[in-house]
Symmetry: C2
């Protein structure tokens, strides 16, 4: 199944090295919001993570997630992505983690390569907001 396409007006928010606020569900049903790096190949979104952390447990429990990315130059413009985890794979030698460090201009020592994973997410819906308003806001969408 091919992924839905975001509106062209907001694709740069997905392509630039910006910060995704990622909503996940904890095993007790409460929610969590975490800031994460991401990269998008116009099909899947990928995140680096480790098997030691809470979000990993959350995503094993509930693979559906959502995230929002705002324009740092105008926070009233943002895009929301809803999707679900399609794979969680090991990241041998932390090669993927390293590529995200480069994308985000960071070069920290990597001490957790043994537990690093790549989380791949297939988007199921995009919602683009301009000036704090969705096109469908009057219809109750946001």
């Amino acid at each position: 199944m091919s992924s839905p396409t975001p509106p062209e007006s907001h694709t740069s928010l997905l392509e630039r090295p910006l910060f995704a606020h990622v909503a996940t569900e904890r095993p007790d049903g409460s929610l969590q919001s975490s800031v994460m790096w991401q990269v998008w190949d116009r099909d899947l979104f990928r995140f680096t993570h480790t098997t030691r952390r809470q979000k990993y447990k959350n995503l094993l429990h509930e693979p559906r997630l959502a995230f929002s990315i705002s324009d740092p130059d105008d926070p009233y413009d943002y895009i929301e992505v809803r999707g679900e985890v399609v794979s969680i794979e090991p990241d041998p030698d932390a090669a993927f983690y390293r590529s995200l460090q480069e994308r985000y201009g960071v070069s920290d020592p990597i001490t957790d390569a043994d537990v690093r994973v790549v989380i791949a997410v297939r988007p199921t819906a995009f919602r683009a907001i301009t000036g704090g308003r969705t096109e469908r806001e009057a219809g109750g969408e946001s």
Copy 2:
């Protein structure tokens, strides 16, 4: 019950007119992430919203939510708040909405005062992140 207290290092992120990325659960169990204004009185957080919109339905369905607020000057510093809705009250004459407009330096015409509500949230947990690392990250908290 008194609310938990955030670490002093991160209270300014809650006090400044910054943007909260708010995680809510939709009635079908999938998640949503939305950018919202907020104001904190050191006990409750309050959000302006309308009864016409999806998030209102989400919060009637599941009153637990979470939100994250990053420092625009350093997105590796952020705070996550988890909490639950304790009340949703009408906002007569949109007085609360107007006060948030002032807080955020906006003065748009108000055309939806009849459906405006004030959503009050009691925090149940704070998680402060500095330089992309929580204090408890090694323990699997983030």
